[in-house]
């Protein structure tokens, strides 16, 4: 087993996440897609931690940090979303263009 399948899987997941993040209307799904992209990154980190040029635990630790950041991001993101929903009555990303108006 080499690193290639893992990296390929991560690339697939990243691209799917990218597509979701840029195409979905619902802000929650956009957040989810971003999480998927972060996960793809984590997969890369862990795969490199095992099969990379310099195996070690740094990759795992960084993926832990990554997970932490993701959790914080989701918490704040959901909070913002709820606030936004309360004020605007929608979670549609395409409606969130007040900067334009």
């Amino acid at each position: 087993m080499s690193i290639t399948p893992y990296l390929t899987l991560a690339a697939i997941l990243f691209c799917i996440g990218l597509y979701g993040a840029l195409s979905k209307k619902n802000a929650i799904i956009v957040l989810l897609s971003i999480e998927l992209m972060l996960n793809a990154v984590n997969l890369n980190l862990i795969a490199f931690a095992k099969y990379g040029p310099k195996p070690g635990l740094a990759g795992q630790i960084f993926s832990l940090f990554n997970i932490t950041v993701a959790a914080a991001e989701v918490a704040v993101g959901i909070a913002i979303l709820i606030n936004l929903y309360r004020n605007r009555g929608t979670t549609d990303v395409t409606d969130m263009d007040t900067m334009k108006r």
Partner: protein, 623 residues
Amino acid sequence: MANDFTSYAWLVPLFPLLAFLVLIAAGRQLREAGAYISIVAMLASFVLALLIFFERLGHTTDYTWNQLKWLTIGDFQLNMGFEVTNLNALMLVIVTLVSLLVNIYSKGYMHGDERVNVFFSYIQLFSFAMLGLVISVNVLELYIFWELVGVCSFLLVGFWYFKPEARAAAKKAFIVTRVGDVGLFLGMLLLFWYMPGHSLDFSAIHNAFSQGKIDPSIATWIAILVFVGAMGKSGQFPLHTWLPDAMEGPTPISALIHAATMVAAGVYLVARTMDIFQASPDAMLVVAYVGGFTAIFAATIGTAQNDIKRVLAYSTVSQLGYMMMALGLGAATAGIFHLFTHAFFKALLFLGAGSVIHAVHTQDIREMGGLAGKMKITAWTFAIGALALSGIVPLSGFWSKDAILSAAFEHNQLLFWVGLIAAFFTAFYMARLFFLVFAGKPRSDAHAHESPAPFTFPLVVLAVLAVIAGFVFTPFNGWLGHWLGDHAEAETANWTVMILSTLAGLLGIGLGYVMYGKNSVSRDIVAGNAPWLYTLVYRKYYIDELYDVVFVRGLRLIGKAFELFDIYIVDGIVRLCSAAVVGIGRLGLRLQNGQVQTYGLATLLGLLILALALAGRRFFHLG
């Protein structure tokens, strides 16, 4: 010799300025007192000018004071100040004297006018500007006053602004002189550019041109451009059309500005910058021919006009043409001398005309007649003025005209004959005017009577001057030429010229007498036999119409074209720009739609393009 008074020459324009300020500030409260303030101020100026003049007698070095720093551009420094030369001193006297007399005259003439104080304030402003022009130390200062004089002319011609003709005349005067002013301005720029040290001082100009430091072709250009300015101001052909129209202003104004002083400013300018012209024979020639042509041209028109002031106006144009011709022929002294005398007798004529108009309430000479009996002083003084203008011995006009004609006889026979014929016409129309107005029977039932003292006093003074002024410079008495620092050509009595000019004058008067005084020759002899000629002359050679067709219509056409150009091309470009901006904005708005996802997509595509470019670079082994 001391410069006790000369060093205070700057006070001469200052008195009218003070009067102007007082009149403007005090306004209506002054009422009749305004006129007295003006008269007192002018009197002060006149006295000072006279003192300076006497101080200058026998004195040929110029007095210059230019210590007022006005402008510093880099190394170049422009100073203001004043300069008193003999020419200036003479001009000061002429201007202050005529102005004083006109002020006195106006006191009576403008009596009862609502805006009399405004009128006087304008006159004071004009006097200030004119005097400032005369003592200007450099061309730029002169130009400032030059324009100020123009403004005053505009204000005074349009003084009765409720008359449409007055408004139109004011505009015409302003615009036509502006054409000349542009020439002067361009000439000034050229002068500034080519003068050593960019100096605009008259003394520097004198030095530069008399020593030939300037390329003659440049000098030609400068001279012609300066002359264009002078043409505009002095009503030389083809910029003469405004001057007759300017007669719509009050008659004292016509006397002051459009006969004696302002129109003479062009002549003065040329005389002042004579060095430039003398550096360029071609320019001299142009000046001479334009002056000559104007002289005969305006004189012929004068024979057919029916408006008393217009006749005088064309006469003025014609006489100015004489002066120019004299300058162009190099006879500066003769030109200035003619200016000097002309100022007196033309002012006299205008004031007389004003007196007549005041009496009969019309300007049409066909409706006048037989006034000699009712208005003795006016008639006599007018007669003196007319004779002086016609060049009858020994009145002042004879001597000055003789000086010009003899100069022409010496230098240019053609111009001599032109001048002679013009003199004939001058005598003719003056005779026509006099006989129609004063002789014969009254043609209207207007109850005319002699004008009061403020009218007659200046008339008498001017009449006396018109008689004696000529004796300062006769072929037998040439000190004026020396005094003016001219080339001091020895005036020798040229009997041929004298006889011919006197003959022409007498012939003109005689013809006028037989046609209008005795009615022994039909007045319509020309109109009947050659109606086209009469009409041509009567319509002033269709110059105004020509201008209307060539310039006004043409300009209007060009203006229309420019308007279309402006609407469709310039505005089109502007609209195109705005449309492009709006379009780009719309596009930007579509891109900048406030949606993160669109930005994200743009970022992704940009990243991909970069990545592909990088990959392609490696793929094609480009680097």
